[in-house]
Symmetry: C2
Subunit: 159 residues, 2 copies
Amino acid sequence: MTTTAPSSSAVRLAAETWESLFRSQVAVMRRLQAGQAFKKLPIKEYDVLFTLSRCPTGKLRLNEINDHVLLSQSSLSRLVDRLEKRGLVERSIAPDDGRGILLGLTAAGHELQKEIGREHVRDIAELVAPALTAEEQRELLRLTEKLQAFVAHKQPRES
Amino acid sequence: MTTTAPSSSAVRLAAETWESLFRSQVAVMRRLQAGQAFKKLPIKEYDVLFTLSRCPTGKLRLNEINDHVLLSQSSLSRLVDRLEKRGLVERSIAPDDGRGILLGLTAAGHELQKEIGREHVRDIAELVAPALTAEEQRELLRLTEKLQAFVAHKQPRES
DNA sequence: CCAAGATAGATGCATTTGCATGTATCACTG
DNA sequence: CAGTGATACATGCAAATGCATCTATCTTGG
């Protein structure tokens, strides 16, 4: 398999696009993190509760969660330790794989997720909704989903 | 000043848009961080070199840099300590404000930034260019710039 | 010009993170 | 089905991070 060398302008466009995506994420995240909601629980820990709350079965493998967050495997393991110590999640052994750990929310975890989630969603809407029209938001949603889908499927370079 | 309550669907759209922007950033960043280039220097430290390299005057105040990066003030201060210890940047006192610190690249810093930058840009292009058409990239660039501009100008809620 | 408050950045200290590695289970091969 | 390598998660330890606080400078009101 061969690929044609991308033109220099194509490279530049891709780089600028990523740069802008990244900076906008930093700007928004900075604001969201400062939200009142995250006095109760750091945003990274909330994100795990949120991810679990979205999951149809209510439980996820640690490695699945790890794909969603920007944390090393060991850091996630200890983050889950903290959540478990606070009684927000429960570890159980995956039925189909003795090595795997299934993580699920406790009642308290569900409760706290909803509580923080309400505030958090309000903060998000306050930042994003006035910045872009509904049409633009839908387009941004579509483009980032497309980008994410491509990146997720592409295998890492072996170089 | 009063604002009309946003409809529930507007809130949901904003939340989904942010969620997708965030996850796509995580997915791309994960790949980029794993790049060969960042064996030499962690990506967060590279980002400071990059930011300095982009600046017309070649020097920036620490608090300006801090706005670009998702780090606390103290963490940035120590990150700069590390860069300085490696001889990549130099601190100097801001001429117009005795409290302020101006940061500039050394020759070695410039060199390393360019070296890592070349690889990094290639990795970015490899991930982003095949995922979206040029037209789509331009649109994504426009939308994220617009979002960032709004968020930067909006003052924090005093709530 | 002085006092009081604000701002820029540095630092002590506890927490979080990642790398390297360890343990246990799984998948495959012969 | 034993042996070998791969995968999932945990853990020791050094490094990075954030919070609270400190020092030094700036700004403002009298």
